[in-house]
């Protein structure tokens, strides 16, 4: 139902070619990371999948249906949490749901509790820390009706400690319902730790340079990042990213 297929997608802004024949797929219930340097066009790719722009060439298919330029098919967490400052946390996280149906606030409360935000249900976003805001934004994605989740560098603005906690938290929540996830990051460790597959993007213009299938079994533990095996993967991907510069 929620398999994403991106085939030969290209996009230019004026003279500047940002994406060049990008192809990949995300299977049902799979966690895939896109790894690429800043400015390589990762957010642009999400904007295409979300239907904000249409690709110049190529096709985007979700569950067998062509979604070029179609909005509302994916659930999306932007690079900034983009919570509405005048809404309470509870009213913020039901927003995605509210656009399509009457929101289920009880379910939202339960999810917020699971996210450690029980005390902040009625608080406003400016009263939250950066990590809490990201968690709220992710809960908003989870509560949205779409089965496919796109996360755009959700943890890039967080410090190292908060980041690791958030990654573990994200995995624990994700293991429960296993929606398909496309996760964008510029952090190699994060990509390996979280994903089933890692796609390495080149920049200027971006194409999928290499694909790595990460064999670590789930559920994954924090200690994993210190193992030899993990380091081996990290080196390999690092060389792939840096290789041609």
């Amino acid at each position: 139902m929620s398999e994403l297929k991106v085939s030969e997608v290209s996009k230019s802004f004026g003279e500047k070619k940002v994406l060049q024949s990008v192809s990949f797929s995300v299977k049902e219930g799979e966690f895939v990371s896109l790894l690429g340097p800043s400015g390589s066009g990762k957010s642009t790719l999400f904007h295409l999948i979300g239907g904000l722009f249409t690709p110049d060439e190529g096709d985007l298919c979700l569950g067998g249906e062509n979604i070029n330029g179609k909005r509302g098919r994916i659930s999306y967490t932007p690079q900034n949490p983009s919570l509405f400052p005048w809404r309470t946390v509870l009213d913020n996280v039901v927003l995605g749901e509210e656009l399509h149906a009457k929101p289920n606030k009880e379910r939202a409360r339960t999810m917020l509790e699971r996210a450690g935000l029980a005390e902040y249900v009625n608080a406003y976003p400016h009263q939250l820390s950066g990590g809490m805001r990201q968690r709220a934004a992710f809960v908003r994605s989870l509560l949205s009706p779409q089965p496919f989740i796109c996360l755009d560098e959700p943890f890039s603005a967080l410090d190292e400690f908060t980041r690791l906690d958030m990654q573990k938290w994200l995995l624990s929540i994700w293991e429960e319902n296993r929606k398909s996830v496309l996760f964008v990051t510029h952090n190699i460790e994060e990509a390996i730790f979280l994903s089933d597959r890692v796609l390495v993007l080149s920049s200027n213009p971006a194409t999928v340079k290499q694909e790595f299938t990460i064999p670590f079994e789930r559920p994954r533990r924090e200690e994993l990042v210190l193992t030899e095996e993990f380091l081996k993967w990290k080196k390999q991907i690092y060389h792939e990213l840096r290789g041609e510069e």
């Binding site: 979300g50 983009s82 400052p85 005048w86 309470t88 009625n122 976003p125």
Partner: protein, 269 residues
């Protein structure tokens, strides 16, 4: 719970702040009044030229019953004109925003219309509509609608691009984007417009009364002027200022009530 708890707390803080910082301007005003009073006595300035503050106060207190009905009439007129004018302004802003092509056609005209001093239209309005309430409301509406319309239009357009992207990608309709995002986002801007309109509405009311009416502060002023009762002119000026200030504070209270989650943030910056 805790959010409800912070609201009265912050109002109290603001009150304290006003008391703490407010004594300076109050002191300046008191000093100026003393200077004015003593110089009128010292140089024996004739009262028809510049009455002393005490004379003005005396006149204000003793003839309250003579002008109270003028005051009520102007207050009513201003409020009615303000409500009509700002509603029309907001409605026009919303329509123009939702129809971008129409906006492109009308926005320059909207700006241009403000370069016509209202006062030059007044004789025309009186020829067409007579001396009743209608031309007066017309004048007040004209001065009130513009600040709100422009502030709201700019507020709608300056909506955070990332939030808008989020809404579109989540599948929001144009109306949902407007009602759930653009409108609440523009509320602070709308309130800035309302504050300006509030002062304009009192001004508009007084000007329209100068041009012909049987009651109102404007009429009281014209009468005072023709009989060289300068003290009464000052009484009128005092009440016009008071009315403006009152309207302004009312809007601020309303603003505190309507704008959630941002008050403290803005106070910090």
């Amino acid at each position: 719970m805790e959010v409800e708890g912070t609201a009265p707390g912050s109002t109290l803080m603001i009150m304290k702040k006003i008391v703490k910082q407010g004594w300076r301007p109050v002191l300046v005003v008191v000093l100026l009044l003393i200077l004015w009073e003593s110089s009128s006595r010292l140089f024996a300035i004739p009262a028809w030229l510049l009455p002393s503050p005490l004379t003005i106060m005396e006149e204000g207190l003793s003839s309250w019953s003579n002008y109270a009905h003028h005051l009520v009439s102007t207050t009513k007129l201003s409020i009615l004109g303000f409500v009509i004018g700002t509603s029309i302004g907001l409605l026009i802003a919303i329509l123009l925003h939702l129809m971008p092509r129409v906006r492109q056609a009308f926005y320059p005209l909207l700006i241009l219309s403000q370069n016509i001093p209202i006062i030059v239209l007044a004789p025309l309005l009186i020829i067409w509509f007579g001396f009743g309430v209608l031309p007066k409301l017309f004048i007040i509406t004209l001065v009130c609608f513009f600040p709100v319309a422009v502030a709201a239009l700019d507020g709608f357009r300056q909506t955070n691009a990332e939030m808008k992207h989020y809404m579109y990608m989540a599948g929001a309709s144009k109306w949902q984007v407007f009602s759930k995002l653009e409108f609440p986002h523009a509320l602070p801007a709308v309130f800035s417009g309302l504050k300006i309109s509030a002062t304009y509405s009192v001004m508009g009311a007084v000007i329209s009364e100068w041009l012909g009416a049987n009651q109102g502060i404007g009429v009281y002023m014209t009468l005072a002027q023709s009989s060289f009762r300068t003290d009464r002119v000052f009484v009128a000026i005092f009440f016009i200022m008071l009315l403006c200030l009152l309207f302004f504070s009312l809007i601020i209270v309303l603003e505190k009530f309507c704008i959630k989650g941002r008050a403290e943030q803005e106070a910090k910056s």
